[in-house]
C-alpha cells in the first residue's frame, strides 16, 4: 500500500494506492492515527481518497470503520473520495453507506469541511 499525504487548507487528504487488505491495512491505520495525533485536540479533517485502491477485504473494511470511529471520538470528521467498483459494492453490502460521507469530486469533499 502507498499513502501520499497532502494538505488543502486545513484538510488533510490521504491518497491511498494498492490494497487495503490483511496486515497491509495497518499502514492506513497508522497514517490516520498520525493525523489524529497531529491535530492534537483540534478537529481532524480527513479526506480518504480511494481512487487508486483496487482491493479491500474484511480487515481493511474494519480499519476504515475504525478510522471513522476514532476520528469521530476525537471530534474530527472523515470523508471518502472516489469510492468505486468493488469497494463501493463492499460498502453497500456491509450497509456502511449511512455512516460515511462520500464524494466523487475532490473540491466538493474539501469544501464539505468548511
Amino acid at each position: 500500500m502507498e499513502i501520499v499525504v497532502r494538505r488543502r487548507d486545513d484538510v488533510t487528504i490521504l491518497d491511498v494506492a494498492g490494497r487495503i487488505a490483511g496486515s497491509d491495512s495497518l499502514d492506513l491505520k497508522r497514517a490516520i492515527d498520525a493525523q489524529i495525533e497531529i491535530a492534537a485536540g483540534n478537529i481532524a479533517k480527513i479526506v480518504l481518497n480511494l481512487e487508486r485502491v483496487r482491493i479491500v477485504d474484511s480487515f481493511g473494511l474494519g480499519v476504515i470503520v475504525a478510522a471513522y470511529t476514532s476520528i469521530q471520538r476525537n471530534g474530527g470528521r472523515i470523508a471518502l473520495l472516489n469510492v468505486g467498483g468493488n469497494i463501493k459494492n463492499l460498502i453497500v453490502m456491509a450497509k456502511l453507506m449511512t455512516i460515511f460521507d462520500r464524494y466523487d469530486n475532490e473540491d466538493e469533499a474539501v469544501a464539505s469541511f468548511q
Binding site: L61, G62, V65, T98
Partner: protein, 146 residues
C-alpha cells in the same frame, strides 16, 4: 471454457502463518483466470477464499505454524468448489453475530463470514466448524444458477 478439466482436485497445504497467504492468493487467482470466470466473479471468489483462509489460520489454528491449513479446489466445467479445513476447535456459524445489525455496524471486525456468504453462491460449514465448503457457479447462457 473447455480448458477446464472436469472434477479435478487441486490441493494446497500450508503452515498456519499469515505470511504465507500470498501462496493461496496466487493459486486461487490463477485458477479463476484459467477457468474463465468473469472479472467480478474473480474478485468475489478471491475475497471469499482469502477470508476463509484467514479464518482457518487465525481463528482455527491460532497462527500455530505447526498446524496446517488445507485447501481443496474442485474444478468443474460450470463451477468451482473450494474446501478450507483447519486443525482448530471449530465454531458454530449460528452463534456468529450479524454484522449488518445496527449495533454491529461500527465494529472493526466480524465481516469475514458475511463477505464469504455474500460473494459465493453457496457456503456450508461441516461440523464441528473446522471445514467450510464454498461454491461459485460460472455465469453463462447455459448456466442460470446465478
Amino acid at each position: 471454457m473447455d480448458r477446464t478439466p472436469d472434477g479435478h482436485v487441486i490441493s494446497l497445504d500450508i503452515p498456519s502463518s499469515m505470511q504465507l497467504v500470498y501462496v493461496l492468493d496466487s493459486v486461487i487467482s490463477q485458477i479463476l483466470k484459467e477457468m474463465g470466470f468473469d472479472d467480478e466473479s474473480r474478485e468475489q471468489v478471491n475475497l471469499a477464499v482469502i477470508e476463509a483462509g484467514t479464518n482457518a489460520i487465525k481463528h482455527g489454528n491460532k497462527e500455530d505454524v505447526n498446524k496446517r491449513a488445507r485447501f481443496e479446489f474442485i474444478l468443474n466445467q460450470d463451477k468451482l468448489t473450494v474446501v478450507v479445513q483447519d486443525g482448530g476447535a471449530g465454531f458454530d456459524r449460528n452463534s456468529v453475530e450479524n454484522p449488518l445489525n445496527p449495533e454491529n455496524l461500527l465494529k472493526s471486525s466480524g465481516r469475514g463470514i458475511f463477505l464469504m456468504e455474500t460473494c459465493m453462491d453457496a457456503v456450508t460449514y461441516e461440523a464441528p466448524g473446522t471445514t467450510v465448503r464454498m461454491v461459485k457457479y460460472k455465469k453463462s447462457p447455459s448456466n442460470k444458477q446465478k
